[in-house]
Symmetry: C3
Subunit: 160 residues, 3 copies
């Protein structure tokens, strides 16, 4: 499947709005091309102007989001990155590789399944790009994230 | 304004010593050029041999540094990176882009304004480089940082 | 010393199995070459299928691993990255630089020696590569890591 179509299908499955411009602010940008790399700023699972999946990930009294929810959050963060890359490049077909993603999971103190959360991003990249979407990644558990989001992910794409 | 002059002006506003060599130790370096990228190691808000802005960021009993202080800390960390880049390149005019910064904020448990802290770095880069200083960034809230610093930031600069 | 021999010597000193293939899973890879850079996914101190060095780093009731243990954990994480790079490149002699490592230390709340932990990685890189192994680095203290590991490190190598 063409990556743009695979993106539309995944977005639809997650009720992610593909026609909405992503709002930005401040003296930084959500996406920047430098040579053959496209950098995407850390993305939280925001849809429109609302952050979905707010809270620490885990189980027990200190957690608000379970593993399944955190994986969906990672998918939504990835959808945002794909929307930004598509807007910057015209088509996701211009992505030739995904060298690196960094996955930050707002974690309850005893939650250690950050890699399983990151699978929500890895599977989304594979669904859209196939073997070209296979990447290296780093998953860590942090105390807090902007707006209290459960997940934040940044991306480096290789482009033609 | 020439970026070197803008740097001197910003350094002066923050009492940041521009004539002092930055001390390093260990088997790593604060700055390394590889091809067309200049990498800067994570910088904490150290002036001379003293870390300014020590403690968790937020409000309430678990916080020692408020948002305004943390933004100043981010500016000082950025000034250090600029000093290192200037020393490595001869002049900041050799910086052609800033693809990525990663901002780690030592956060009180309920502090979620990591992006607003990072603005202290983004605004410093814009003050020095103008539109060339616009970058992607990732801001996360961590439990601790070296020497208890409130902020640590690493940088990737594009160079000629 | 040839970097491959230095690697074997360091691995032997840490009882790190050099003949064992490193297991991977999921839709990501432990190592990926893109142009002249080789990216290595975040490595925890796993030997075979067992994670050594599990727990928070520091002293006091909230810590399970002391500074000396955490430094060894950083060395083991680095040995894994070297094993992966060697498998991908054929020989570690193909590594021409180490632009960046990011060191995440699972920290007890009051532990601030993340840089000293990272020295365990920096010294291993120097032992294997000599001056070519000198790198930039970022060390932060996080709340949790996958499988409860004490340390996680990711790497960017420059390759020929």
């Amino acid at each position: 499947m063409h990556p743009d179509d695979a993106y539309l299908e995944l977005a639809s499955a997650h009720s992610f709005p593909v026609h909405e411009a992503i709002q930005i602010g401040g003296k930084y940008v959500p996406v920047l091309r430098d040579g053959t790399l496209l950098y995407v700023s850390g993305q939280i699972p925001r849809i429109g102007d609302q952050v979905h999946f707010v809270g620490a990930v885990g189980s027990g009294p200190h957690a608000a989001i379970d593993l399944a929810g955190a994986r969906r959050a990672a998918t939504v963060s990835t959808l945002r990155a794909l929307a930004l890359a598509k807007a910057a490049l015209g088509s996701l077909a211009a992505v030739r590789s995904v060298p690196r993603i960094s996955v930050f999971v707002r974690s309850a103190p005893d939650f250690t399944q950050q890699s399983e959360v990151a699978d929500g991003a890895s599977e989304a990249l594979y669904a859209v790009f196939g073997p070209r979407g296979v990447h290296t990644r780093t998953s860590v558990g942090v105390l807090q994230l902007p707006k209290g989001a459960a997940v934040e992910i940044d991306f480096v794409f290789g482009v033609e």
